[in-house]
């Protein structure tokens, strides 16, 4: 008989918070849906796998290293990042995926009564971490599928500590161009932190797309997030990082757990950046081809779709997204329902290799008429 009076132990903001329910593992899903294969188009993974150098590091990870603790502050990875981006190693902080650095930033700057400002239809983790930390997340509606700079500014007050801008935005793929971002940063001034989440940075090849690492030279309150989970296809190893002014990083490190990134992940991330131009170009080509194929498919079906930057597209269905998910899963294809992103009736589809995209199109047509 469970007889622990949790109500008296647990803070009210934790009692109110609903824990995130991740999807079941593939093997479970295959069993549940009775399929012998599963194309994962739900998490924006890069199916080309990690770049060759990273793959070699993973395949030949020396067993001698297994009993040894990793570098607690990702020493060599920060060196490599500094060299790659022309920064100091002290300007980088590496975490167990981006979620950990999101948590560290919020812990470092916010206290009871503070709030963060972000969009209502974006990556959910900023909102979640704020809420389970007992902070208010102020959610600003998107405007034409994009973050609305003026509405973000209007939502802020004297207790706003951090703006979170996902650029390009997951799931819409829209982005603020350089002029928009600079205008926003000018309006914010230097009294609040502005986080620019560039999880899909390497997918964007637009001239007017701003590089957050360059912006921080002029705006010391900018903190940039990037990850090795998307373009570099190391999602299983969980490596995300932030870059900011050294003084800002010094503050965030105080709220950050050391030793959270394992040795294999650190080594693979270093290797992933070696000679990666060809790999990135090949991935971008794959995504462009997939975007064209799916765009035509949705056009032919007369369906509204949103196709910005990043390796994903959104499409609005004439039925519920959650029903369509079940129909597609029963055909061996996982898509991401968008109700959780507050886009009910939409799905997000990851853009991958042509054979898989063609399989998606066949299943899509079947599910639409089933």
């Amino acid at each position: 008989m469970f007889n622990l009076p949790l109500d008296h132990l647990v803070p009210s903001h934790i009692q109110r918070f609903e824990p995130y329910q991740p999807s079941r593992p593939d093997r479970e899903l295959m069993r549940m849906f009775g399929v012998d294969h599963l194309y994962r188009l739900n998490n924006n993974e890069n199916v080309l796998g990690p770049p060759p150098a990273a793959r070699r590091v993973i395949e030949h990870f020396d067993p001698v290293q297994w009993p040894i603790y990793p570098s607690g502050d990702c020493f060599y990875l920060r060196q490599a990042l500094a060299e790659r981006f022309g920064k100091s190693p002290d300007q980088f902080l590496v975490g167990n995926g981006s979620c950990e650095v999101i948590t560290s930033v919020i812990k470092a700057f916010c206290e009871k009564g503070d709030n963060i400002v972000t969009a209502d239809k974006t990556f959910a983790v900023y909102e979640w971490v704020a809420e389970f930390s007992g902070l208010e997340a102020r959610l600003v509606p998107l405007r034409r599928f994009a973050f609305d700079p003026q509405a973000m500014l209007d939502a802020a007050d004297e207790r706003t500590k951090i703006f979170f801008v996902c650029n390009p935005n997951n799931p819409t793929g829209t982005y603020w161009d350089s002029a928009t971002f600079r205008g926003f940063l000018e309006a914010v001034g230097n009294r609040r932190i502005v986080v620019i989440d560039e999880a899909y940075f390497e997918y964007v090849a637009r001239d007017d797309y701003p590089d957050g690492m360059a912006l921080m030279n002029d705006y010391p309150n900018v903190v940039v997030f990037r990850t090795f989970s998307k373009m570099y296809a190391l999602a299983a190893l969980r490596v995300g990082y932030l870059c900011a002014a050294a003084e800002v990083v010094d503050i965030i490190r105080r709220a950050h757990v050391v030793y959270s990134v394992n040795a294999l992940a650190q080594a693979a991330a270093v290797a992933a950046m070696e000679d990666d131009a060809g790999f990135i170009a090949a991935t971008r080509d794959m995504v462009a081809g997939a975007r064209a194929l799916l765009g035509a498919e949705f056009e032919n079906a007369g369906l509204e779709h949103v196709s910005g930057e990043g390796n994903f597209m959104m499409v609005r269905l004439p039925v519920s997204d959650t029903l369509f998910y079940r129909k597609m899963a029963a055909r061996g294809i996982l898509v991401r329902t968008m109700t959780g992103f507050r886009f009910p009736g939409w799905i997000r589809v990851s853009l991958v290799t042509r054979p898989v995209m063609e399989a998606f199109c066949r299943a899509f047509r079947e599910a639409m008429t089933a």
Binding site: R24, S320, L323, Y325, T337
Partner: protein, 435 residues
């Protein structure tokens, strides 16, 4: 009504000498929480009767009692450890009988009849018995207004302001048949209490002139399932239905709920739910109050996130219905046949009954498994039929093998499964109707 007031706790032995203490606590709590005077007396009497009964059957046992507010009611929770306890007098079909010559069960019979509702759970040796006394709320009269098109721009807002809610309810009552609306619309203050307690959520659709031109409300019926009612559109068009539905879904999008279902008792007939991305869960046989012609009631549903699947128990007599439903809805379920345990039960069963005399509908929920399940089902079916209830429904939680086994007995006694409510209990709930 103050919703965050803490309850009062006391522990007394099951002994008649302690009745005055319990009585005094009940009367004080009723006064503090502004329970109507008559209801306060009924609360005190009901609690007194429970303690008297326990004094007879488990004398001296420590009884933990918690009395406090419960949104629209005051509740009293009795908690005790007992190997076996005859609570059959809580059944609505119970009556004083010759078999109970010494009147031992009479206090429980009185306690259940004095209460507006009760619940009962057993976990191992621990028994929790809860009695409810509902507050008395003033009724509003319908306000009839000529429907006029809503003036753009439309907006949706969360409702918490009592006078605005009361006005919207009165106008809804003037526009729709009262028996199709949520019952709280006729006593809006009850709805306000539910909202302030966080038990219910209400959206209002306002137009460019600030007029309220639509309502939509929802409540959790389990940790993973939400039931909603609306959109009730007060203007002459269906403008705003999509706004209300989308706002509700977005409000729930990052919560724990998996399943969103329209209220079978209160769903507007003039909204194209399929066009708003809802799936048809079932069509229930129904009849509007005062009408002889049958009027089928569609029940609409959508998932709010991926459904990870469930194991559910089923008796072979209704397993085909379940499997067909799951196949049609693409719901991933592992249906496990119930096995006859061979264990002999000694305690009698207890069922809770929610009665709606106006709609001539009774909904029965099994609370305690018992040796007399078959007879108890028959007693409920016969007794309620004789009292003029036309729709007698049983709600069976498929997480409980003993309840699934009851489903077999229900089929044998003339009930049929009509609806599966995903995640509405600890697992899915199947609704049986007596035909």
């Amino acid at each position: 009504m103050k919703h965050d007031s803490p309850p009062v706790f006391l522990t007394v032995p099951a002994d008649p000498a302690w009745v005055p203490v319990v009585q005094s606590v009940a009367e004080t709590v009723a006064r503090i929480f502004r329970l109507d005077r008559t209801k306060g007396l009924r609360l005190a009497m009901g609690m007194e009767e429970v303690l008297l009964y326990l004094s007879q059957v488990v004398p001296g046992t420590p009884i933990k009692i918690e009395v406090g507010p419960d949104a629209t009611a005051v509740r009293a929770v009795f908690s005790l450890d007992a190997e076996a306890l005859d609570l059959s007098a809580m059944n609505i079909t119970a009556s004083p009988s010759l078999a109970d010559a010494d009147g031992q069960n009479l206090p429980m019979l009185l306690a259940s009849r004095l209460s507006d509702g009760f619940s009962l759970t057993r976990s191992g040796r621990q028994i929790l018995l809860t009695l409810f006394q509902e507050h008395v709320y003033p009724a509003v009269s319908p306000v009839e207004t000529a429907p006029a098109p809503a003036r753009p721009p439309l907006r949706v807002e969360r409702a918490r302001e009592a006078s605005l809610i009361a006005d919207a309810c009165a106008r809804a009552l003037g526009r729709f048949p009262g028996d199709r609306l949520p019952s709280w619309f006729s006593t809006p203050a009850r709805g306000v209490d539910l909202i302030l307690a966080g038990r219910m959520h209400l959206l209002l659709l306002r137009d460019g002139g600030d007029a309220v031109c639509g309502l939509l409300c929802w409540q959790a019926i389990s940790g993973k399932s939400i039931v909603f009612s609306g959109p009730w559109l007060l203007s002459g068009d269906d403008a705003g239905a999509a706004l209300l539905l989308e706002e509700m879904i977005n409000s729930l999008a990052r919560g724990a709920a998996v399943s969103l279902v329209s209220d079978p008792e209160a769903t507007p007939g003039n909204v194209d739910f399929a066009g708003h991305g809802f799936e048809l869960l079932a069509t229930l046989p129904g009849r509007a109050v005062g009408q002889d012609a049958p009027a089928d009631i569609p029940v609409w549903f959508r998932h709010l996130r991926e459904d990870d699947g469930l194991n559910v128990w089923a008796h072979p007599d209704f397993a085909p219905f379940l499997e067909e439903t799951y196949r049609r809805l693409f719901l991933i379920r592992t249906v496990q046949p119930v096995v006859e345990t061979g264990v002999t039960l000694t305690e009698p069963s207890v069922f809770a009954a929610a009665l709606n005399k106006e709609r001539r509908q009774a909904t029965i929920t099994p609370l305690l498994n018992g040796a007399d399940n078959r007879d108890n089902i028959a007693a409920h079916l016969n007794g309620l039929s004789q009292e003029g209830y036309e729709r007698i429904r049983f709600r069976i939680d498929l997480a409980e093998p003993w309840q699934a086994a009851l489903g077999g007995e229900l089929v044998r006694q003339g009930c049929r499964p009509i609806l599966v409510l995903p995640h509405a209990g600890r697992a899915d709930v199947v609704v049986f109707q007596y035909v």
